[in-house]
Amino acid sequence: MADLTHPKVHASWETRGYWEGAARGELVLQRCRACATVQHKPRGVCATCLSGDLEHFVASGRGTVYTFTVTHQNQAPPFAAACPYVMAYVQTEEGPRILTHIVGCDPEAVQIGMAVVADFQPQERTDGEQFAVVRFRPAG
């Protein structure tokens, strides 16, 4: 598989903490101080109780592959040149499920239940933003 440079991330004030955390090499999730729900994607309210009292925290970065697909066809650049690549949902230790790519192994080696850890691809940008895309790779 060709090395894929992920398309640019666009952030709002609600979501930039996640992408800035990724640029530091951290998987950042949100926790509600009122009801303790851990949530992803990040937003301005707790989607369980609508409290606005939220905190960001650094998650372990560990998880397991919940499900995946080896993508053989996607006409959109830059993905066309990267096929076959593995798109997956990773179940994080903290609860939320994250849409991502599995990298660092043969696509055919990926299995449901496989232990993975977060892996970060910093983005080269000209707008001054420090963001990285979160992928996962086999643990250990």
Binding site: H6, Q39, T69, V70, H72, Q73
Partner: protein, 386 residues
């Protein structure tokens, strides 16, 4: 009086085109409106409720459609929840008519996706600058990819086989071979499906719906009025809607909107799954059919592989599904939901020739909109004739 049975589908029309480079979406909708009104024995002057959606209609699209048709309706609804929109429109139309807000509603759809080379399943939407989309678009999420992740999970958890998914495609093609309007009519085998190229594993090319142009229209009015019109009224006995997404609490990926919408629709109609003579379900991909039948309650989650095998969902089987050939073989202009209600109506009126389900009295139609495995909508109708 309950909404169940109060309103009926009085006219339908499926636009025969599968390739229309010389037409616009609104033109296909207008031609379809004429067809459905002729079918009902009504004219455009009778219409006082306008419902419609398409892949390109924007925020004011329904107003532009009214302008195109020179309509001044008393009730307008441009709800767009993806391919299931039109089944929701039928529900909304029935509710509006039942409430006295309009009397004759028309539901419209048109698309030129094929002749405009829209890569519906495998290459849309990566240019979005919406921050919410940034949790998908950097990863090259495709429509087929999201459904493939559902198929992968189903196979791993329940041992569902690629051959079982392939039989769904084979069955839809057999039905299409009996539908003169279908785009793909040459029969295929399980081996043909399994040897077609992988698009997004485990889904092969022939596990995926085709892309066509097309459109259609449905006329809804009160059952009382429909009884005086040209065709036998097809009563709207039950309806339900839902939204399902992968968010807080990480719901199981194999739970579809069909569960919530289906339970409401069956409950409202007061009928059992075993009473149903035929099912029209959105078949964007083979897995969509399997998962929808499970979530509608025709079998337990996990048993779908066996349920769709052995000819059970073919004409002459226990529960014939998608007699027109579905999106897998007849037509898929991007938002196929309207055809589910159109074919169900024709079947219940006994007009389907070689592909007619004998003595069909009760049908379920379920549309899925958006992307299963990410966020999707569901809309269910239970339709019946006396």
């Amino acid at each position: 009086m309950s909404l169940s049975g109060a309103c009926s589908i009085a006219g339908v029309y499926e636009h025969p085109t599968r390739w229309a480079p010389d037409k616009t979406e609104f033109q296909i909708m207008a031609e379809s409106a004429k067809g459905a009104l002729d079918d009902a024995g009504l004219t455009i002057d009778d219409v006082d409720g306008l419902f419609g959606a398409s892949m390109t209609m924007g925020a004011m699209g329904i107003v532009e459609l009214a302008e195109y048709l020179n309509l001044k309706p008393n009730y307008i609804d441009g709800t767009n929840i993806g391919g299931s929109s039109f089944l929701a429109h039928v529900t909304h139309a029935a509710a509006a008519i039942h409430a006295g807000l309009c009397q004759v509603a028309i539901v419209l759809y048109g698309s030129t996706a094929a002749s405009h080379s829209v890569a519906i399943g495998t290459g849309m939407g990566h240019g979005s600058r919406n921050p919410w989309d940034s949790f998908q678009s950097p990863y090259g999420m495709t429509t087929v990819g999201s459904y493939a992740m559902v198929a992968q999970l189903h196979m791993q958890r329940y041992g569902t086989k690629p051959e079982q998914l392939a039989e769904i495609a084979v069955t839809m093609r057999r039905h299409a071979s009996m539908n003169p309007a279908a785009k793909m009519r040459t029969p295929i085998t399980v081996d043909d499906v399994l040897s077609s190229r992988l698009i997004s594993a485990p889904l092969h090319l022939l596990d995926c719906c085709i892309i066509s142009d097309g459109g259609g229209a449905i006329v809804v009015t009160s059952t009382e009025r429909a009884k005086d019109l040209k065709k036998k009224p097809v009563q709207i006995l039950g309806c339900g809607e839902s939204v399902c997404h992968q968010e807080i609490g990480s719901p199981d990926l194999l739970t579809m909107g069909a569960r919530q919408a289906g339970e409401r629709a069956f409950g409202m109609a007061g009928v059992q799954r075993s009473d149903i003579d035929l099912a029209m379900v959105y078949d964007s991909f083979t897995i969509t059919v399997l998962s929808t039948l499970e979530n509608l309650g025709f079998c337990k989650v996990g048993e779908g592989g066996d349920f769709v095998s052995g000819g059970r969902i073919g004409l002459g089987g226990e529960l014939p599904v998608n007699l027109d050939g579905g999106g897998l073989s007849s037509n898929h202009p991007g938002m196929r939901g309207i055809f589910l209600a159109i074919e169900a109506t024709k079947q219940l009126r006994g007009e389907c020739g070689d592909r007619q389900v004998a003595n069909a009295k009760l049908a379920v139609a379920h549309g899925t909109g958006g992307t299963l495995g990410v966020a999707h909508s569901g809309a269910t109708l239970i339709l019946g004739v006396e």
